[in-house]
Amino acid sequence: MVRITRKVEFSAAHFYHNPSMSAEENRRVFGKCNNPRGHGHNYVLEVTVAGEPDPTTGMLLDLKELKDILQKEIVERMDHRHLNYEVPELAGKIPTCENIAAVIWDLLKPRITKGRLDRVRLYESDDLFAECTA
């Protein structure tokens, strides 16, 4: 088995706020991230697909195909968007790194038909990432 990884970047705004908690509790739990005007990140997404390479092409999957899936499913949905308001899959969820990574996994899982989705790693900064694994 081999694992092949493709990286893509997108930039988006968000803030953390749970409407079922008081204003004070929101500030305590989320700190600066609770600023209602929002803030943003350059997210770096690494998507890993696992499987056996095709003996004829030597490829597990066509990376161009994976690039197109990431563009359509993730970049077009999230790039230069406000994650609290503009991504229906995140509606009702706090757009943390964990929740965004999980949404990305769920969006990509049915689209990866050659090999299988093995890992989704989403960097919010060089010092923080969430990872979903099979």
Partner: protein
């Protein structure tokens, strides 16, 4: 709020959160159970009695259910001060061999450093420590998951 992965494993996926920290420290690789010549052979330049240092990166990975109220496995407001107190403050700008009690006997190799940092962080009360990765230089790293 609707939860995403309340059980930690949902839709065939497991989720973790990794935070990177850094500290700078000096050390010397020298084993009291080896002769001078054996130390020289085992550790080479790293055996220099005056010691040397590195800018270490520490990657801390925690796992567990994503709290639906916060959307988080662990709040960095809890994890950061814990790691600072347990590892970064005692290790940063220190001579590991003499200033960290565990390395008075154990050689502070990247492997032993990784295991010691894992031991210190395993008691984090808010999530399960999955693994610790230490990067000593951009060419060397070590991972330990408690097994």
């Amino acid at each position: 709020m609707s939860g995403s992965s309340g059980l930690g494993e949902t839709n065939g996926r497991k989720i973790s959160l990794t935070r990177r920290y850094r500290f700078a420290a000096s050390h010397r690789l020298h084993s009291s159970s080896l002769s001078e010549a054996e130390n020289e052979r085992a550790y080479g330049k790293c055996n220099n009695p005056y010691g040397h240092g590195h800018n270490y990166f520490v990657e801390v990975t925690v796992t567990g259910p994503v709290d639906p109220a916060s959307g988080m496995i662990a709040n960095l407001g809890d994890l950061d001060p814990f790691v600072m107190r347990e590892v970064i403050e005692p290790f940063d700008q220190r001579y590991l061999n003499e200033e960290i009690p565990e390395f008075r006997e154990n050689v502070p190799t990247t492997e032993n450093l990784c295991k010691e940092i894992y031991r210190r962080l395993a008691k984090f009360p808010k999530a399960r420590l999955e693994r610790v990765k230490i990067q000593e230089t951009s060419n060397n790293s070590c991972e330990y998951a408690g097994d």
